[in-house]
């Protein structure tokens, strides 16, 4: 059997608990962990607002628990590594962020998350009388064809969905309106990832997939689920071309559109490579007459030490631009 991958850990079974402890300390008092639950909540919540609860499996840091803060999530329910949080965590987190106007669940579309958040919804609506609604993020164009958007996963588009919905939930009093903005954002989001090498699960130290030294996988999922196709490693430009072709054709994006562009590191890719890909993506946008309103190049949605990156485009209108451009403050994503 292969040696476990090298990571700086203590007890491999306690990675989530120890990570959350470190996360809280890194936020200098802006968030707390709920006693007895792997849930993170803002300390500066106003007395009344529409609540925004995000969450999902751990191991994708800074997603989701790193995105709790001003104009971002009000709280996050944190699962074990790559596993959805259980209903009791989600229920506790929802009650902690509820400020009388209902709570929107916003998370990536995975079977485990859907089942656990739905079970929590049923408990909260029936037993607690809290107005809970759900918007699932489905930006990964590699996961299913356009006629089965409901089968698509949430990947790096999570960041823009959380940022914009977080802003809307700060400024808008109406739950209906916040939900509408969240749905519009998800409808306008498209992403695709390419994996260059695998990440590993902390508890087992095993790689989540195997790729030959000269292979890449386009469309790889955030957990190392298989992608659309494997191929030989080619140039950054050719790979960016392949990914952008799929993304642009899907919405579709076209001449005159204004977008937010995110180049997201899956974990172990260098900023140098991401900037080289960004260069090509901008050449393509220029050629297609697509205006980039704002660019984010960095590390937000990861799979441990997986190497590779994702490209996300969000089609903007004035309303989405407004909420996207509000300042954000969280460990994982801050913008002035």
């Amino acid at each position: 059997m292969a040696q476990p991958t090298k990571k700086l850990l203590n007890d491999r079974r306690k990675v989530v608990a120890e990570m959350l402890e470190g996360l809280v300390l890194a936020n200098d008092g802006r968030i707390v962990k709920l006693p007895g639950h792997n849930a993170i909540v803002r300390t500066d919540l106003p007395d009344t607002k529409v609540g925004l609860l995000i969450g999902g499996g751990s191991g994708h840091e800074p997603l989701f628990h790193g995105f709790v803060g001003k104009n971002m999530g009000d709280g996050a329910a944190c699962g074990q590594v790559f596993a959805a949080p259980s209903p009791d965590i989600i229920v506790a987190a929802t009650k902690a962020v509820h400020r009388g106007k209902g709570v929107l669940f916003l998370y990536g579309n995975y079977a485990g998350d859907n089942m656990n958040f739905d079970m929590a919804s049923e408990i909260l609506i029936e037993d607690e009388g809290i107005d809970v609604r759900t918007v699932r993020i489905t930006d990964d164009v590699a996961a299913a064809p356009p006629d089965r958007v409901h089968d698509r996963r949430g990947i790096a588009g999570d960041v823009y969905a959380i940022k914009i919905t977080g802003g809307a939930a700060t400024e808008l009093d109406s739950f209906d309106e916040v939900e509408r903005v969240a749905r519009k954002t998800v409808a306008n989001l498209r992403s695709m990832a390419v994996a260059v090498s695998a990440g590993s699960i902390p508890e087992t130290g095993k790689l989540t997939f195997e790729l030959a030294d000269d292979e890449i996988e386009i469309g790889m999922g955030a957990h190392g689920e298989a992608g659309v196709y494997r191929q030989k490693l080619t140039s950054a430009d050719l790979i960016a071309d392949q990914m952008m072709e799929k993304i642009l054709a899907d919405l579709p994006f076209g001449r005159g559109d204004e977008v937010a562009l995110m180049i997201n590191n899956l974990g172990a890719t260098t900023m140098m490579e991401m900037l080289i890909v960004n260069r090509r993506v901008r050449q393509i946008c220029d050629r297609e007459g697509i205006k980039v309103h704002r660019t984010d190049v960095g590390t937000w949605v990861t799979t441990q030490e997986m190497a590779g990156l994702s490209i996300t485009l969000l089609k903007l209108d004035d309303e989405l631009k407004h909420y996207l451009d509000l300042p954000a403050e969280s460990l994982g994503y801050s913008r002035m």
Partner: protein
Amino acid sequence: MAETLDAAAVVAMLDAVAQAVVDQADVLTDADLAIGDGDHGTGMKRGFEAARAALKSSPTASIEDAFKAVGMAVLSETGGAAGAIFGTFFRAGGKALSGKELLDGAGFADLLESGLAAVLKRGGVTEGQKTIIDALAPAARAARADGGSLEGASAAAAQGALHGVEATKEMIATTGKARSLGERSLGHPDPGAISVSIILVAMRDFISGN
């Protein structure tokens, strides 16, 4: 060999079931690495270790409560799709045995059928999609068709689940994290289906005294 199990024996059986899942966590991890994200083994181990602790803290539970205790522990501690599915299975299965002081062959079939119905509702899947349903559904049918003793029903269910695991090798995943593999999922059994077979084989072995 036992014709029926009382509550104390059901607690002992569920403890043996949980031990079997914990013991075979590595098998589940490797099966999941082949077509999923590789966390099934660690999640099941975490949940069923919690189930053993829950059973230990309430040794005089009723049959219903014993199943529900396992379900709650697995739901909370396993997390993910597996936690929701196996937690739902044990909780709903236990509910079907409400008020029963003895578990017999008919009760065993009730347990599987009710657990199956709840999992189908929660997961929104059908047979043939390469999921735990493909082990659980044939197991439930086999237990009901056997129509006899607890030993016969549990043996039929275990056999049905094992056949179901084999059958999942020939299926293409159309749901869950293996979905994107498409035809590449062929030849690999579904990890969740393997978990069902481990659970039902452990029940059979306990009941038959092996």
